[in-house]
């Protein structure tokens, strides 16, 4: 099948490439652009490990064709750290609160949590759990992921993080 030209911004950098229409965005990012932060977990739109931020939406990049992303603005885990190289509040939160064990789900979790906090800068625990319900983690039991996101929300809001009593 003939390839088509696509142009998109990924983590602030413009990418121009030729893609086969059937190429999924996750394969384009990982195999053709060497952007391997988004992971391939289930490949069936369930696990959320492939989540990227596309034009202000959290999407599963295994269920979007690269050609559909033509002209879009994408952010992956590679684009999360601050310009000076320090960690984004979410990355810091996941480190401080032990929000990861094996780390496979983490890039998708953080990118999803980023959009969640953009839309709701002070979510309740319930809103966080509902907001990350498209991302599966098989290690943590989610408890520390929720805390990591609460930590990040507090930091971004400039308030002290108060861990809830258990």
């Amino acid at each position: 099948m003939a390839k088509s030209h696509v142009s998109m911004k990924v983590n602030g950098k413009t990418i121009e490439a030729l893609v086969e229409p059937r190429t999924l965005l996750i394969h384009f990012l990982r195999d053709e652009q060497n952007i391997t932060g988004p992971h391939i977990g289930c490949e069936t739109s369930h696990c959320g490990a492939c989540t990227v931020d596309l034009d202000g939406k959290s999407v599963k990049s295994c269920t979007v064709f690269a050609i559909q992303a033509n002209g879009s603005d994408i952010r992956t885990i590679e684009g999360m750290a601050n310009a000076d190289g320090t960690l984004h509040a979410l990355q810091e939160g996941f480190r401080e609160m032990h929000g990861l064990q094996c780390g496979f789900c983490t890039p998708g979790m953080i990118v999803r949590a980023y959009r969640l906090l953009q839309e709701n800068n002070n979510p309740t625990e319930e809103e966080i759990r509902y907001g990350i319900s498209g991302n599966l983690c098989r290690c943590t039991g989610y408890q520390n992921i929720v805390k990591a996101i609460q930590f990040a929300a507090a930091k971004l809001n400039g308030v002290a993080f108060q861990e809830a009593a258990e």
Partner: protein, 288 residues
């Protein structure tokens, strides 16, 4: 999992999309949010030679009031439905239903048009459309026509759509102010289709049910409009015996498959339980 090869088209108008789909015939498929079609393509259960992406057609997006109706463009996403203040005020069952579809990522891309046009009995919006007596606006080779949602579904994945047709919008009569509503869905986990689900919209007048409409999801090859069950309820308080009679009438029209979600009889009974819960919640919400 890599889909089969296809040619990609991205028309910028409905006219162009209809022309392409008419010309391509069985070789062409319309692509909306893609969260039913792309998984099928990855499994090679769908192998369209051409995809006509409706994502570039601005006219297909948006929510607006038109007299006593609300018109929702087919490419409006579930995320958009949840965030719409107009729908929140006028037809809040659409928000409640959308919030129970799949997960946040899927809702950012999944569309109302795709959900109702696909003909998958597992989709949630069709039963809600039967409940609300929605009409689908369709543009095909012969121009525009309208089909009532209650006439649209013929079998699993079989609908009144013909080759070359594009479902462009959904038109919903605004339910009476003060109506009660609920969408109750039993599912095994986030992202699952319903084991059974029930949509209820009703009005209360003088302490009794004045009007009532009921839709059922995933308990037959098509969504079901439970007309008889609703008739039983109208004019009642309702008391426990009447609810029981209505639940039995709703269960009687189901014909679910036995699958991983449970045996057929269990799913029928769960449709009844979902209906009883939806009725109680809708009644508690109604003013009048």
């Amino acid at each position: 999992m890599i889909p089969g090869a296809f040619a990609y088209h991205r028309p910028s108008s409905v006219k162009e999309a209809v022309g392409l789909l008419a010309e391509l015939g069985d070789d062409g498929r319309a692509l909306a949010g893609g969260h039913s079609l792309i998984p099928m393509m990855k499994l090679r259960l769908a192998t369209p030679a051409n995809l006509v992406d409706l994502g570039g057609i601005a006219d297909l997006k948006g929510i607006r009031a038109d007299g006593n109706d609300i018109i929702i463009g087919a490419m409006t996403t579930q995320h958009d439905l949840i965030g719409s203040p107009l729908l929140g005020e006028k037809i809040p069952i659409l928000r409640e239903t959308s919030e129970q579809i799949a997960d946040p990522q899927v809702r950012y891309l999944g569309t109302l048009g795709g959900n109702v046009a696909n003909g998958d009995p597992g989709n949630d919006m069709p039963a809600v459309m039967l409940c609300l007596n929605a009409t689908y606006q369709i543009v095909g080779r012969a121009g525009e026509r309208r089909i009532a949602a209650r006439e649209f579904y013929q079998g699993a994945y079989f609908t009144a759509l013909e080759a070359g047709d594009v479902l462009t919008a959904v038109r919903i009569p605004i339910p009476a102010a003060g109506h009660g509503y609920a969408y109750e869905k039993l599912k095994r986990k986030i992202g699952d289709y319903a084991t059974a689900a029930a949509a209820v919209v009703l009005t209360i007048s003088g302490g009794k049910i004045g009007t009532c409409s009921i839709g059922l999801t995933n308990v037959a090859e098509t969504p079901l409009w439970a007309e008889e069950a609703a008739k039983i309820l109208v004019g009642s308080a309702p008391d426990a015996a009447t609810v029981k009679k209505a639940v039995a009438a709703a269960e009687a029209i189901t014909a679910p498959a036995t699958d991983a979600r449970g045996p057929a009889l269990y799913r029928t009974k769960m449709a009844g339980v979902m209906l009883a819960r939806a009725l109680a919640r809708a009644k508690a919400r109604a003013r009048g």
